[in-house]
Symmetry: C2
Subunit: 113 residues, 2 copies
């Protein structure tokens, strides 16, 4: 599938959607922390240095809304919540890979006089 038939406005809208989902200071770091086995709120906070509870809570909600993370609750006492990356999260790989590639080259480009 390619996107040649889309209007420019539609393209911009889709790109902004994608930007919105992955941008911000923390989202990628959180996804990586979770994918590496940190499933609890505190574990994630420990592994994403200097994030506050308020912000972490908000980011987790957005990631869950976008179906990139799942949230499972056992209503025992004390409450037990488990976060995990969803299979859908993997669909971001082409986007992220192309951004890594471009950003990596861009450093050199900007360093040139």
């Amino acid at each position: 599938m390619n996107n040649t038939e889309l209007t420019i406005k539609a393209k911009i809208k889709y790109v902004q959607d994608t930007l919105f989902v992955i941008s911000g200071k923390w989202k990628l770091s959180i996804m990586i922390a979770v994918s590496q086995g940190n499933h609890r709120f505190r574990d994630i906070q420990r592994n994403v240095p200097s994030i506050s509870t308020r912000v972490l809570s908000k980011e987790l909600k957005e990631l869950e809304l976008n179906k990139l993370l799942s949230r499972k609750v056992d209503e025992w006492q004390p409450k037990l919540v488990e976060y995990a990356v969803t299979p859908y999260c993997k669909s971001l790989a082409p986007v992220v890979e192309s951004m890594i590639e471009w950003g990596r080259n861009h450093r050199k480009k900007i360093a040139e006089k």
Copy 2:
């Protein structure tokens, strides 16, 4: 070239770099407006609805810094400035295309119950 040998921290850094260059409310719209033949400050402003001169000025500077736009001045009176997309700007195509593709699919995904 692939990026499998990079550390996670490096990957995040590169992705954040890329995000920084293309994110924000206006950058993509401005690049498109310029690429479609709007080379003058006023033309760009007319074609990117509701952007203020202050913000347009700032965004143009950042795009120029990142070598995505060129700026050429003829010091006549009245002053004549021409903006144009650089060849380097085209290197963003894979990133933008993958984001269009993902964002397009994501709309459907989120709409699902």
